[in-house]
């Protein structure tokens, strides 16, 4: 069961709030201090991605972040964008990154996914069980 839920209108400023909450709950759940920078970055990337998708599709629905700390620290970031948009992201190779033809948005999306995949060992990106949308699920060990 989720212990703390945060939902916010899809605006960049609230991504900062999500990072703040995600790290505070992680610290209290007992996630090791040296992992907290990764937690901050990963939650930020997942929320940035969700906000970008909601804006792209003109959705005013809130983005949802659920944090639960039973056993491990599990964070779900849920967007409501059509499913095709959510999956099929891939990290880009360096020669693609510097290409003229790659738009800044596409680059940011690819880089964001590379950060998620690179920093979060236990990561899942999948369609939500009910309705439209994608959830990014991240788990970190808890050890006091």
């Amino acid at each position: 069961m989720a212990t703390v839920k945060l939902s916010f209108s899809p605006a960049p400023v609230h991504v900062r709030t999500a990072r703040l909450v995600g790290v505070a709950v992680a610290r209290r759940a007992g996630v090791r201090e040296d992992l907290l920078d990764e937690v901050r970055l990963a939650i930020g990337e997942a929320c940035t991605r969700a906000v970008a998708l909601h804006r792209q599709y003109g959705l005013s629905d809130p983005v949802l972040v659920e944090m639960s700390d039973s056993g491990a620290y599990a964070v779900r970031v849920v967007d409501r964008a059509p499913i095709e948009a959510g999956i099929g992201l891939a990290a880009l190779p360096p020669d693609e990154l510097a290409k003229e033809s790659l738009s800044e948005d596409a680059l940011t999306t690819g880089v964001g996914f590379a950060l998620l995949a690179g920093f979060v060992e236990d990561l899942q990106v999948r369609p939500v069980e009910e309705g439209i949308g994608t959830e990014v699920r991240m788990v970190w060990p808890v050890g006091r």
Binding site: P12, V13, D37, L41, E45, L97, A114
Partner: protein, 118 residues
């Protein structure tokens, strides 16, 4: 926490010192400043990330945008960064192979002055 931006000139180079959090909320201000500098004629730009606490994909996207713009204008673009957490972000995204990364502003300037533009 908030983004801070300070520009100074060192010889032919324009050094932009960035501090605070460069993220989806503040990256537009960084983009704007970089465009102002480039539109104002700066061609050899060094961005000093020494006081950046947080950098996300949006911030990285803005930096790549500036690099491309300067390259196509025949200029150069380099980053200064010596903090391991930040360097790790460049490695994980393979952007360490895209940006000239230097530990100090002096190193960035002399590397850019001896070789060709980046």
């Amino acid at each position: 926490m908030e983004l801070s931006l300070a520009t100074r000139t060192v010889g032919e180079h324009t050094v932009l010192e960035v501090g605070g959090e460069v993220d989806v909320y503040t990256a537009p201000r960084l983009r704007e400043r970089l465009l102002e500098l480039i539109d104002g004629g700066a061609r050899r730009v060094v961005v000093d990330l020494g006081r950046v606490d947080f950098l996300d994909s949006t911030g990285l996207g803005v930096l790549v945008g500036a690099l491309k713009r300067l390259r196509s204008a025949g200029g150069s673009f380099a980053l200064v960064c010596d903090k391991e957490p930040l360097l790790k972000i460049f490695r994980i995204t393979a952007l360490d192979q895209v940006f000239p990364l230097h530990p100090t502003v002096d190193a960035a300037i002399s590397a850019d002055s001896t070789g060709a533009g980046a």
